[in-house]
Amino acid sequence: MSADASLRAYAANLPVPEFETTAFTMLGKPISQASVAIVTSAALHHPGEDPFSQDDTSFRSLDRADRELVMGHWSPNFDHTGFQLDLNVVYPIDRLEELADDGVIGDVGPRHFAFAGNQPDTVSEIRLDTGPACAAELVSDAIDIVLLTPV
């Protein structure tokens, strides 16, 4: 079994919050008119900011124009070199700009957001506190679609 397969098998049995209902909302407008933002759990941040601490449940705001970002993730269990070679493999901001230029999406959000994926199993603080706070920031930017990239 490969390392990724072994870690996937391990993670598949971790306890996670389970929900009986699904929050589902239709887009309500054509994708070509929608504003899109990225939320990643890759713990990206600006070099000058405080790094993510272990079990950090806060999030960082990433400006649309910023490409000089570092990965502050604490987990040793995944590859980091893909990000070093091309941040779009984790944070596809250039792809969104291209999709907007081509008219596939309406616009790219002015801000994007990063959490740290290394979290306690319950993710309670993110679910109850920083997650809704991040969602409020996205709403204030009039974001219609959020692309979540898990790391």
Binding site: E20, M26, N77, F78, V151
Partner: protein
């Protein structure tokens, strides 16, 4: 992990079996990344919750990474310290090219040799409670050392884009630093240090 997605019931999910740490699948392949995003956007047309699977799998454990290691030559300092110092020029080139470094969770690049010296001493049997590690946190320091090596390696690697687990295998199996971290990890375990102090110094499967 598709089992996790199924249990959490998100409104829309595109399950992609790509290397862990590469959610868009392939670095330096804009066309591939775009296809993944467009497939995700397609899910917005569904009138009820949907979990789809991306049809293409990207394997993580493909070709090994070819990256030369500077030979150690100074018998007065531990091999991993000598090795880390030898990689400094490549690390500096990486920093100059990218403008940023992810080294810095607990230590900066200047402290990598000193941290390796302490890990080497632990691996040789010194007590982790009596010799302080620069940066203190064993997990963050180990991660910073690995990041220092991987960023340097991207300047030295020969051939195509390294596969998802290639750099990890190179670091833990071919470098003095990686072997030292593994040996220090074993030493901490044997000295009955708390589990989180040593376990997360390396990937769980190691």
């Amino acid at each position: 992990m598709i089992e996790v997605v199924e249990r959490m019931s998100p409104p829309r999910a595109l399950y992609c079996e790509f290397p862990l740490g590469r959610p868009l699948g392939k670095p330096l392949d804009p066309a591939f990344q775009r296809r993944v995003i467009e497939r995700g956007l397609d899910l917005l047309g569904a009138s009820e919750p949907v979990l789809a699977t991306y049809p293409e799998v990207v394997e993580s454990d493909a070709a090994p990474m070819v990256c030369s290691i500077p030979p150690t030559y100074d018998p007065k300092i531990p091999p991993p310290v000598d090795e880390a110092q030898g990689l400094r020029a490549a690390y500096d080139r990486a920093l100059a090219r990218r403008g940023v470094t992810s080294v810095g969770r607990a230590i900066d690049a200047d402290s990598v040799p000193a941290a390796l010296e302490v890990l080497h001493q632990w691996a040789e049997g010194a007590s982790w409670e009596k010799i302080d590690l620069p940066g203190k946190n064993t997990v963050a320091v180990s991660h910073d050392i690995r990041t220092y090596y991987e960023e340097a390696a991207m300047e030295l690697v020969i051939g195509s884009t390294p596969a998802g687990r290639a750099a990890e295998a190179w670091f833990f199996e071919e470098t003095e630093a990686g072997r030292t971290i593994m040996a220090a990890r074993t030493a901490l375990k044997d000295q009955e240090a708390p589990f989180p102090f040593w376990f997360y110094m390396a990937p769980a499967h190691r």
